[in-house]
Amino acid sequence: MTIVLFDGSLKTTPFINRLAEGLAKKHTVYIIGFNDSLKQKVKGVEYMALGTTQNAFNLLYHSLKIALMAVFKWGDFNHFFRTLKYIVTKKTERLKQENFNKTLQVIAPDILHIQWPSLLGLCADAIANPKIKTVLSQRGFQSNVRPFVDAENFSELQDYYPKIDGFHSVSKEISKVGDKIFHLANKIDKVVYSGFDFEKLPFNFNYIKNQTLKLLSIGRPHWVKGYEYALRACAILKEKNISFEYTVVGGEGNEELQFLVDDLGIKESVRFTERISQEKVYEIMRQSDLLLLPSVIEGLPNIAVEAMAVGLPVISTKCGGVEELIVDNETGWLVTVRSPEAIAKAIISFLLVSEEGLEDVRKSARKTVEAKHNEAQMVDEMEDLYFEVLFLNGR
């Protein structure tokens, strides 16, 4: 089976990279995208660049390359002249679409796996092409927020979704959310949890709570991450004279968060850092006492899976797929969304948990993620989804 994974860029997320690597052992896997070269390619995966809009010459080069390839392969002069026309008239969006379509025609995939709903417009021709089966991932903001605050987006998705052959959902919850947009009895929609290589995520057997509680959050400073609530929880901790340090990895440079820590008087105890590499993330996880996940909404947070794997206790809001991952008091702690008081209360009760109790939670957390989130299982399940789409007519 030939599979194209498309997330718009060649620099795909670790999740897609792991999926691509696993699938490439049995299938031909392509990653295509709108940017240029890539330093670290995934083993066994074919890459095709479609030209970047950041750089006019790059787009020109790739457009002509693809157009000439079509001429030599099929004598497709029509495409060639169309490309020239779009170059002369500077219609970059059309040019991007031409490049994408021609590249797909060259690859002739069985499955086109579209990673984000925002890419559907670009994939319109491919979706209409009966020879290509399409799969759409449901994850994050574009699936669980935008359609519900933007009526135009909602109706756009309602037009596209019935034409998609199968859906991949990162959690059961997001699959239900997707049903609000489009639902049919024979809709193919499979929950495939993200998978990890647990050998690279060794469990921390030497976990000891620090004297000064070290709180950690990881992720870009977008409002869905709810850091404002965590910071207000920190202000409550300070009021109660609990000594803590809170690090938000990737939170650097955000005006609102900087204002909040200053205004709440917790500047000395809060640190925002720039984004750091995966290895460094695991290292800082091993030095921390507690992962805070104060999100307003989540698909299924990978960072929580990783923390549970390395044995870092997690306090998370009850949102999206989190409840499929964490059982309150067994594999972590859950609090209601949008409540600084609830977060602070959970942190304070965390301080009172006995050493044995904590060990139990950490070990059960590891067991849970090992069982639900291993890489091989993710690849197998995704493969199942692709086969289901290919052999059952999901439309």
Binding site: R146, V149, D150, W223, E255, Q258, F259, V296, V337, R338
Partner: protein
Amino acid sequence: MHIGLVLSQTPGYSETFFNSKIKGLREHGMDVRLYCQGKKDDFNLCPVILSPRVSRNPFFQSWYFLKEVVLLLPHLPAVIRYIKLERKEGTGVLQLFKKTYLNAHLLKAKLDWLHFGFATMALGSETVAKAIEAKMAVSFRGFDIAVYPVKQPDCYRMLWKYLDKGHTISNDLLVLAKKHGLPEDIPIEKITPAIDVNLFKSDSQIVNAKELVFMTTGRLHWKKGFVQTVEALAILKAQGLKFTYKIIGEGPEYERIAFGAYQLGLKNEILFLGKLPHHQVKKELESASIYIQYSIQEGFCNAVLEAQAMGKLCIVSNAEGLSENVLHGKTGWVVPKYKPQLLAETINRVLGLNSEERKTITEYAQKRVKEEFNIEKQQSEFIRFYKTKTPV
């Protein structure tokens, strides 16, 4: 007297603060000029001098630069003074060329006062006033004092050194400015914003008592605390209260606020009316029961003055100038920020007041706004601001 006002853009029609200031000064025979990066077509209150153009194209840029060099020749003494001051401050040669070019329009000016409309506007031009032998004034307006120096600590070091006189719109901002290094010996005057009290007189005092309408006007920005307002309203809905919440304004945080409304089950209660012209804002205000301004950061907020002038019950947060804008328990209610639960409780309490109690509050608010926040008062304060000599 010649006064140069530095802003990024000419003020729009609805920016009462600068428009009334400019009008008032000119009516009193002062010569006012605006120094801006851009000019809106409909602005005609005073002459506008645009800053030198910046082009990405090196050929154009070189041409602009040469042109500006020639135009600066008649002002050589000021330029030399500027260069000397900047060298003293440790500005490098390349940087000095750039700064001289960017400040060329100001260096050509003959002024008694060079007044920067926001503290951030003065960044990069701190020594210009001294170079052109004018006094330097700056206004503290909100974001420039409450947010920007948090992101860029110590950014006003040079400003404090060269500043002759400051203007703040609220006491709280002055406290913050001092926290960010404003020396005690620089004279500061507080001149609050003002509104056209004649425009915001309520035509009809009758509010449909059956339908409960809350309202907020403002840019959809995190500073405005819309999410926390929505969270407070969710508490009230859970208690069985029926209401509509109208939000007038647009901005980058629409999705965040709208998702809050969706997630908290208030999609039908909350109406986003977008940006509306002044007269329509007034019309919407007329039908509102309570005006809410639960901001996280706020310079002063004219919208709250307007709501008070219209005889509305106002509930605001204690962000910076708001607690001077509304006197707690006298002209409205001030609720500590970051506490949606408290906001909900206050709304409930206000809804429980009888009509006599409401009247006492709104009448006093109307009277106070009329007396203390009218344009004439603001205008005469600004004239005094420039006429009072600064102690050296």
